[in-house]
Amino acid sequence: MELSLLLDPGILAQVLAQGLVRGSMYALMAAGLSLIFGIMGVKNFSHGELFMIGAYVMFFVTGVMGLPWPMGVAAAAVVLFGFGVLIERTLIATLRKRAGRDWLLDAFVLTIGMLVVMQNLALILFGTERRGVGGLVDGTFVYGPIIITYERMMIVAVAVAVGLALWSFIRYSDLGKAIRATSQDPGAAQTLGIDIQRIYTYTFGIGAALAGLSGGLLISLFPAHPTVGFYPVIKSIACVILGGLGNISGAIIAAMLLGVVEAYSSFFMSGGWQNVMTAVLVIVILIVRPSGLFSSSKVERA
C-alpha cells in the first residue's frame, strides 16, 4: 500500500515539501555547529543546550512579555552571541592555552561538561515543564496537493535568509575573510596582524547566536525544556558529518537531503527506525567518505 502511495505525484510533492521544511530546520540547527567546527575545529557538543537557551529566551520575550516573535528570535540570537563570547573567552580559550597540541579532543570533553551544567541549571531554574509559544504565524498554504502551514514556510524563508546572510558574511566581509584565513592557516593569519584569539571568540559567538536563533524560531515545534537540545544536536552532527566536517554549505545541503530522505522514509518506517537509519547513514559516510558527501579538498570551505 505504501509503495503505491509513493507513486502518486501529489503525495510525492507533499512529502518533498515536508522534507524541505524539515531540511530547513536541520540546516538552521547545523549552521552554527558547522561554523564553529569548520573554523576552530571544536566539536561543540553543548550546541543543543545553546539551542535550548535560545528557546527559553524566545519564550520569555514572546510568550511572557508578549513582544512580536521576530523580536524574540532576534533577542535569542543576541543573548546567545554574548553567551557564546563569554564561554569562548573563559573556558575554550583557557583550554586552548593549557592543553597544547591535541586540545580538540579535550575541547569536545569540555563542551560535554558545559552540556551537563547548562542542562541541569535549566532544570533547576525552569523545571521540566514544556514552554512553547503557539503559532507564530497563522494560516495554511494550499497549492494543489501541497499543504503547508505558513509557519513552516516562514521557517524555510528564515532558513534561506540566514543561510544567505551567513554565506555572504563569510565570503565578502572583512571579518568573514579573516575568519576563513584563520581557519586555513592560523599561523600565517597571525603574522598579518589578525588577532586570531579574537577571531575564535567572534566565531564561537556567531555559532552560538545561530544556535539561539534556531532555538527561538523553532519554538512552536520544539517547546523550551531542559533536554530539548538533544534531538537538534544529533541531527546537527549528522548534517555536519554528511556535509563534510567544517564545510558549511555542505552541511546545509546535507540538511536538506537528510530532511527529504527522512520525510520519504517516514512512509516506510516508524519514527524510531528513522533514528537508526540516520545513524547508519552517518556511519556509512564516515566509512566510505570521511570528508563528507560534497567535500574535495580544493573546494572552498565556506
Partner: protein, 235 residues
C-alpha cells in the same frame, strides 16, 4: 630602519634557552643573512624578534626603539613584516583575498585598494590570476604571492624565514631574484635560509650561528673564503 639585537636569551622553556646572548645587527637597506646548522636557533631568532617568544634577557631595537612585547599588529605598524617558515598562503582563498588580508591592519578600504593597485603594478602575473584560488598557483607563484602579501602594508624591514625551502632550483632562483629586487629598493632584509650559497650570494653581511650564539660574522666577501671551513664545523 636598522634592527639591533643585543645579548638576547630566549627559548621555549626557561630551562632550555635556544638563544644564548645573541648579538646581531641588520643594517638599514641591507640584506643580512643568518646561516647555521639545524638547531642553531635561526628560526627561533626570527620568532623572538617578531614577539612570538619573549626574551629572558637582552634588547631588540628597531630604528633605535625597543620592540619587545609588540604584537604582530604593532610590528606591522612599525614597518616590520615576517614571512614564516613553510607555506603560508590561504589556499582556498583567491589571490586577491590573500593580498587584501596582507593589508588587514590598514584602517581604510581606499588605503588597501591603493596598496593592492601598487602590488598589481609590480606583479602583473598576480593581477592576471587575482580571481583564482591561491592553492592552484605553482609553488613559485605561491612564494611570490607570500612575498607580495608581505609588502601590502608598506613595511621597510622584512624577516624571511626559509624563503626557498621546498622549491625546485629554478624556482629558488626566481624567489631570490625577487628578493634582490627588494634589496635594490632598499628594504632592510633579514634572511634565514638552508640554501647557504644562494642566500650569501645576495647578502651584504652574514652571521653564522651555532648553539644560539653568533660564532662568525662578516661581509659576504669575507665569508666566501671561509664558508667551506664553517660548514665543515657544523658537520
Amino acid at each position: 630602519m636598522s634592527l639591533e639585537v643585543s645579548d638576547v636569551v630566549a627559548g621555549y622553556t626557561r630551562e632550555v634557552p635556544i638563544l644564548n646572548g645573541l648579538d646581531l645587527t641588520a643594517e638599514d637597506g641591507r640584506v643580512t643573512v643568518i646561516i647555521g646548522p639545524n638547531g642553531a636557533g635561526k628560526s627561533t631568532l626570527l620568532k623572538t624578534i617578531y614577539g612570538y617568544l619573549k626574551p629572558e634577557r637582552g634588547t631588540i631595537k628597531h630604528d633605535g626603539q625597543s620592540i619587545v612585547g609588540y604584537s604582530p599588529k604593532d610590528m606591522l605598524r612599525k614597518g616590520i613584516a615576517y614571512l614564516i617558515q613553510g607555506h603560508s598562503i590561504f589556499p582556498r582563498m583567491t589571490v586577491e583575498e590573500n593580498l587584501e588580508l596582507g593589508g588587514w591592519i590598514m584602517g581604510s578600504d581606499s588605503e588597501r585598494r591603493e596598496a593592492l593597485e601598487r602590488i598589481y603594478e609590480r606583479y602583473p602575473r598576480l593581477k592576471e590570476k587575482r580571481r583564482l584560488s591561491a592553492g592552484i598557483l605553482s609553488g613559485g607563484e605561491q612564494r611570490i604571492l607570500e612575498i607580495a602579501r608581505l609588502t601590502m602594508t608598506g613595511p621597510r624591514t622584512l624577516l624571511l624565514d626559509e624563503p626557498s625551502v621546498g622549491l625546485m632550483p629554478k624556482l629558488v632562483n626566481e624567489v631570490y631574484e625577487e628578493i634582490s629586487r627588494l634589496k635594490d629598493e632598499k628594504y632592510t632584509i633579514l634572511i634565514v635560509d638552508q640554501n647557504v650559497k644562494k642566500s650569501i650570494s645576495i647578502a651584504d653581511y652574514v652571521y653564522a650561528l651555532a648553539l644560539g650564539e653568533n660564532r662568525h660574522e662578516g661581509t659576504k666577501e669575507e665569508f666566501a673564503e671561509r664558508l667551506d671551513e664553517i660548514v665543515k664545523e657544523w658537520i
